[in-house]
Symmetry: C2
Subunit: 285 residues, 2 copies
């Protein structure tokens, strides 16, 4: 899809600090208005509506929202309290009343993944699986242009790589997230990823991440794997051993069908771009 086709569709990327509201203009240029996320949800909604109308004065077609979870995306609800947001039990369907258009909601990792899959690193590909490497490890699957959830939502940051491995925040042992998230790296090696400069340690992290990517390859059989998130700032320190171990480990598909490992192209715009895409394509399920 070309960016111009998203004109009139508005995306909202809600973060703990900043809310970004965006659209693509008629020439396909990304236009974004951002403001500090409001403590009061009603005020937040009013700011979103104001920004959306300013961006698309001719009439908003639909709105997409990416928000930290836990969400019930089918009912458009934030369930209880998100660790990163000041609100409790809020209903994004409020925005439908204020705007008079349909609103689609999903969690931030899925929405950023949708952005990368449709208008970023995965453009033109049909099946995408990916991981967001940050404080935790988010996971997304985009299939035929839509976010895949299953019954609740996929959670492959919590695939078990070693049942005797370190304890994860989720209560399991040996999750991918317990080996390779920023929090895990700090805990296991006593240093934050942006300060970690020992190639041997990065090899250990990359080895476990490679196992996780091989499993994503065999469970999803995607056209590509996409990695996003803050840890990608470490570049080849992580990526060189990751690609090497991944190629050594993945044998079950013939070489030309092994999904390549791609790095997200949209940076901190992935969330708002994905929310614009969500506004247009909605949910398939």
């Amino acid at each position: 899809m070309r960016r111009e086709e998203f004109n009139g569709f508005v995306g909202v990327d809600i973060g703990g600090q900043t809310t970004r509201v965006g659209t693509f203009d008629r020439r396909g240029q990304l236009q974004v208005i951002h403001f500090p996320t409001e403590k009061n949800f009603v005020t937040e909604c009013n700011h979103i509506v104001e920004a959306a109308r300013q961006l698309v004065p001719q009439g908003i077609k639909r709105l997409g929202v990416g928000s930290p979870g836990p969400l019930n995306w089918r009912k458009k609800l934030l369930i209880g309290k998100s660790p990163n947001l000041p609100w409790v039990d809020v209903d994004f369907a409020q925005l439908e009343k204020l705007l008079g258009c349909t609103v689609w909601v999903d969690n931030d990792a899925n929405v950023a993944g949708l952005g990368e899959a449709i208008l970023g690193a995965g453009k033109g590909k049909r099946f995408i699986a990916g991981f967001t490497l940050g404080t935790g490890i988010g996971h997304f699957q985009i299939k035929n242009g839509h976010i895949y959830h299953g019954r609740l939502d996929v959670e492959a940051g919590h695939q078990i790589l070693d049942p005797a491995g370190p304890v994860c925040g989720c209560g399991q042992r040996g999750c991918l997230e317990a080996f390779a998230s920023a929090v895990a790296i700090q805990k296991l090696y006593g240093v934050a990823p942006h300060e970690l400069n020992d190639p041997k340690t990065w090899e250990q992290i990359a080895f476990r991440l490679a196992q996780g990517l091989v499993n994503a390859a065999v469970f999803v059989c995607p056209d590509a794997l996409i990695l996003t998130g803050g840890m990608l700032a470490r570049g080849e320190m992580l990526l060189e051993p990751l690609r090497r171990f991944y190629e050594q480990m993945l044998k079950v598909y013939p070489p030309r069908y092994r999904p390549p490992i791609l790095v997200g192209e949209l940076g901190d715009k992935a969330g708002v771009v994905g929310a614009i895409v969500l506004a247009k394509v909605g949910h398939a399920e």
Copy 2:
């Protein structure tokens, strides 16, 4: 779906020894004709056509075929030589010319999984993931009534449970199949599963299988997991420790959303029933 709704749709389950051709009659009773799989593919096709016409004299709506792979299901081809079949590079589209109706083709594990998902243990559920525990470990995912493949096909029997584990037939190390298939059990413990009576050994096998099922839960987020195949004949020897380890390991979803482990209900009819379902529903991709 009720079984009566499949009247007129014919399924073919091709095995190394036996070919089964079946349909559901107007009262929803399964009717099957079987014959030894022919060495000559043209003769095989003629026998299939003959059996199909005998089962549905009023006119066949569509035909579904489950066959051992490697297949290109999109092109309806057997690629090269299957270890279990006497044919090389055969084209199932031949059957379309002989019958004058559409023919859908998929590999036997996917087709048996489709049968269990739609008319067996998974009836009424929307998202199913499962494993066939036999000589190897087959894997299937059924979503919204259709087989999911991704680019080629999912292969989660080859998820890596331990990158330093035993070498698998696929060339990888530590695959689920390298720990828990009948061939692996014979290799690792020197005894075939049907002769293995040591509960401690079954605990080890069940432990690895539980890790594989947790990973299926987080990658697919299904309504249920289905197990089929010869090893299920061992019943609680395998299932009791498997359910226990699975419950201990899987924590990331709230208890009532953890997919239950179900055992296939269709036995050796899963293949022909799944092929009848495939005839009706076809492929979504």
